[in-house]
């Protein structure tokens, strides 16, 4: 596909890796040029992380050749990879939050003077390294007190300093950054690129792929789909290559949405009046109808999650009231909410949602069992029936209902949580960032599912950072800013208008 090129710094040929029961990589070829930003994209389970693990020495390939700087290498450990100039910045920032920024950048190779660490020189060096990335910071600040974006920059600075890296691998670096912070990161990436560093950029955000990368390598099911120049591959083609099926589904969705919007009931299922909680969300009104999907749009911290928590009864409101089916609610607690047919899929599925060491079946049964009461026994056969039903319904890819949830990919874990709440047959489903960190295909599936649930007469609150997604999925959109409900739109209002509303027309710190 790509002609031989002197600029090539790394080639991987015919790399194979098998895990028990899974062919994670099957004869994958990959090459990387100096001074390019190369995206690796693919659905969850496509083999992106395995490919990177092979490259950084976390996993050993079963077959295949890795050539680096025209020499065949075999990397045995991340440390060895680092010494060779291949460094990785992980998705979760792997630094020490109790040390200063300077220490985090230089620890292990601090400048020494008479056998002890020369803190002054260390701080100056750290500052210089950051300056090279055009970042000006107080390097004596404790890392834990800095925003995630800064922590990420420190991680990159460390990666560069340690190995005078020739290859920098960024694994989902933008997943916890705001738009503004992402731009900051991109600035750093462009700077490095101009210095001749080859960057591998793994991400789920396809917009970002187009914004910053030169070439794209697409993987699917452990196989290479191809490597393409970013400028020559349209968005639609890319998505098609990634999910291996056409985008008809997205169009289906528009149809589905239109159709389901006819089924929205007139009566309110839930009505919040002047509901608010000091410090969390200003009083707001909200009506939810059966069969309707209401999207909450706004930046991180704008009050989206807070609304979800109030509606589900995790937090008590200190003003206003909620009524369901016309009856005012007096007891706010998750258990009561579940009893009323409200379900919440929390934002952080790792921390609040799945129980990784239980099987898919056990995870799905959990909420249902809770709503039945702990002493009512659900026969094993019945449990399997339910689990299998939802595995099929949500298209969860797992070998069996007895697989441990931790062995599933992120998207499938998310589906398991969804299944758990669906099993309780809720009337109101609150989904907080249900598609975060999962791939396009799984995203589309979940969005579709939300709409089909609405079609069945359930009401949904859909929270997401991706406006596109909110627009696609919701019948009505509530815009939040600074913990306040700003506006309410019908979804046929364009993205632009909502964006303006999110940013605030007079606000100077508008972020796209």
């Amino acid at each position: 596909m790509v002609k031989p090129d002197n600029n090539i710094i790394l080639t991987m040929e015919g790399v194979c890796k098998t895990f028990p029961g899974v062919q994670a990589l099957e004869k994958v070829d990959f090459d990387l040029k100096k001074g390019e930003i190369h995206a690796i994209v693919g659905e969850n389970g496509a083999g992106k992380s395995t490919l990177i693990k092979v490259l950084t020495g976390v996993e050993r390939p079963d077959a295949g050749i890795i050539k680096y700087d025209e020499k065949v290498i075999s990397v045995k450990s991340p440390q060895e990879a680092q010494e060779m100039g291949i460094t990785m910045v992980y998705q979760e920032v792997n630094l020490c939050t109790n040390l200063s920024i300077a220490e985090n950048i230089l620890i292990g190779r601090e400048p020494m003077k008479w056998g002890s660490i020369d803190k002054k020189t260390m701080n100056i060096q750290a500052k210089e390294i950051l300056m090279r990335l055009d970042i000006d910071l107080d390097v004596t600040r404790i890392l834990g007190t800095c925003p995630v974006a800064i922590q990420q920059m420190a991680a990159i600075a460390r990666a560069l300093e340690i190995s005078s890296a020739k290859i920098l691998i960024l694994d989902e670096p933008t997943s916890s950054l705001s738009a503004h912070e992402t731009q900051q990161l991109f600035k750093v990436m462009r700077k490095l690129k101009s210095d001749g560093v080859a960057i591998i950029f793994v991400t789920h955000f396809l917009d970002q792929v187009y914004e910053i990368t030169d070439r794209i390598t697409v993987l699917r099911n452990g196989k290479l789909v191809g490597t393409f120049a970013t400028s020559e591959l349209s968005y639609l083609e890319l998505v098609t290559k990634m999910i291996g099926r056409s985008l008809n589904e997205l169009q289906d969705m528009t149809k589905l949405k239109l159709e389901s919007s006819h089924h929205i009931k007139k009566d309110e299922l839930l009505e919040a009046k002047g509901l608010g909680r000091t410090g969390a969300i200003e009083p707001f009104d909200l009506e939810l109808h059966a069969g309707e999907v209401v999207g909450l749009a706004g930046l991180l911290g704008s009050g989206r999650t807070e609304i979800a928590e109030l509606l589900f009864g995790i937090e008590r409101p200190d003003s206003g009231s909620i009524s369901m089916d016309g009856k005012t609610i007096s007891d706010y607690s998750p258990i009561e909410s579940i009893g009323r047919g409200v379900a919440l899929c929390p934002e952080d599925r790792k921390a609040e949602g799945i129980i990784p060491d239980l099987t898919v079946r056990e995870n799905i049964i959990l909420a249902m069992q809770a709503s039945l009461g702990w002493f009512k026994y659900l026969s094993l056969q019945k449990q399997y029936e339910i689990a299998d039903k939802y595995i099929a319904l949500l298209n969860i890819s797992t070998p069996s209902a007895d697989q441990l949830v931790k062995n599933l990919s992120g998207g499938n874990q998310q589906k398991v949580i969804l299944a758990r709440w669906l099993a309780t047959n809720p009337r109101l489903l609150i989904l907080d960032e249900p598609t975060r960190g999962i791939d396009v295909g799984a995203k589309a599936e979940i969005q579709k599912l939300v709409l089909s649930l609405a079609d069945e007469g359930k009401s949904c609150v859909f929270i997401s950072s991706e406006l596109e997604e909110v627009l696609r999925t919701s019948h009505r959109i509530v815009v939040l800013r600074n913990q306040e409900k700003i506006a309410e739109f019908n979804s046929d209002v364009g993205a632009h208008k909502i964006m303006q509303s999110i940013a605030g027309t007079v606000s100077t710190k508008a972020r796209t």
Binding site: L95, C96, L99, T145
Partner: protein
């Protein structure tokens, strides 16, 4: 804005240490007001004389806890070192042989415990508890009775008072000086060596430390070896000041030590803390004992209750400082 931010960061950084020092001062001054005899400077130096061993093993403990672990073997180590040295001295061994040997033994046992913790991935709690049983058991096997030390050099070390310059009628003994010197050494280790910084990094997040390419294995084992060394030193100081060796010595000292470290502002989950705080933690412990002694009528068990309450308060303060702390988003 920048000013308040700086003050906030300063408090986050030094708050627990300042709290410890304040509590010490309050306790000490209260004691002085209640019992005028406590106002004599010698009472302050007595704290170091009496708490020397506790201070020494708390230094090692501080490192173990900052690294994210714990060392329960310290009390047993003291018992073993006192008994072993008493018996060896009784049989005519020279202190010049006994003392280095004890230090080597302490370090070696610590090294072994650290290796087990690291290579077999066992909880430090269990491994060092095993170490505690082993050491105390060995002490009784060496001698199940108390052994008196009559060695001349030990007597000399124990009884030679060093007068404190400029402060009349106040003195310490030679072994008293060991702990303050070790505090300085430990402070240097913690802040100015790669070993020390790696201990902090590990305590914050061992996984991260490993991914950052830091020598986690070596550092972890060194931490326990260092703790073993400190407790052996504590044992030597103990045997000199009591001029005896006995398997029953230093019962429950490991828990006093942990309490002192926590009172000194070290986070039990690791990553945060320092030896200066630990020193004040130990001094608080000593001050409470002094107050009870000067009172004379209160049961000495009040000491335990006071330490318990203070430790709890400190854990509360820590969660205030660290747990609710969220990265500021600016």
């Amino acid at each position: 804005m920048a000013q308040t931010q700086r003050i906030k960061l300063f408090l986050l950084h030094y708050g627990p240490l300042l709290t410890t020092i304040t509590i010490f001062l309050v306790a000490y001054i209260t004691g002085g007001l209640l019992y005028p005899a406590m106002q004599k400077p010698q009472v302050f130096f007595n704290l170091f004389i009496n708490e020397g061993s506790l201070l020494l093993c708390s230094i090692g403990m501080t490192f173990a806890i900052i690294s994210g672990g714990l060392d329960l073997s310290v009390g047993g180590m003291i018992a073993l070192v006192t008994t072993a040295s008493a018996v060896m001295l009784k049989h005519g061994a020279s202190p010049l042989v006994v003392m280095p040997l004890m230090l080597v033994m302490g370090t070696a046992i610590g090294f072994a415990l650290g290796s087990i913790i690291h290579f077999f991935k066992v909880q430090p709690f269990i491994v060092t508890l095993m170490g505690l049983y082993f050491c105390r058991g060995m002490a009784y096997i060496i001698s199940d009775l108390s052994v008196t030390i009559t060695n001349k050099d030990y007597l000399f070390l124990a009884l030679t008072a060093i007068h404190i310059p400029f402060i009349p009628r106040s003195y310490v003994y030679i072994p008293t000086l060991v702990a303050p010197v070790m505090i300085l050494v430990a402070f240097y280790l913690a802040y100015f060596t790669r070993f020390g910084r790696t201990v902090y990094a590990m305590g914050n997040n061992e996984q991260s430390a490993m991914l950052m390419g830091l020598p986690v294995a070596r550092t972890k084992i060194t931490v326990y070896a260092f703790s073993g060394f400190c407790s052996a030193l504590a044992g030597i100081v103990w045997s000199i000041s009591l001029l005896a060796g006995y398997g029953q010595f230093a019962q429950g000292l490991e828990l006093d030590s942990i309490a002192s470290v926590v009172m000194g502002g070290t986070l039990l989950t690791g990553g945060i803390g320092n030896v200066i705080g630990t020193m004040f933690g130990v001094l608080i412990n000593g001050t409470i004992v002094s107050i009870l002694q000067f009172n004379g009528t209160l049961s000495s068990w009040w000491n335990r209750i006071a330490i318990g309450v203070l430790t709890l308060i400190f854990i509360g303060i820590q969660s205030l400082f660290y747990v609710t702390k969220r990265p500021s988003s600016n």
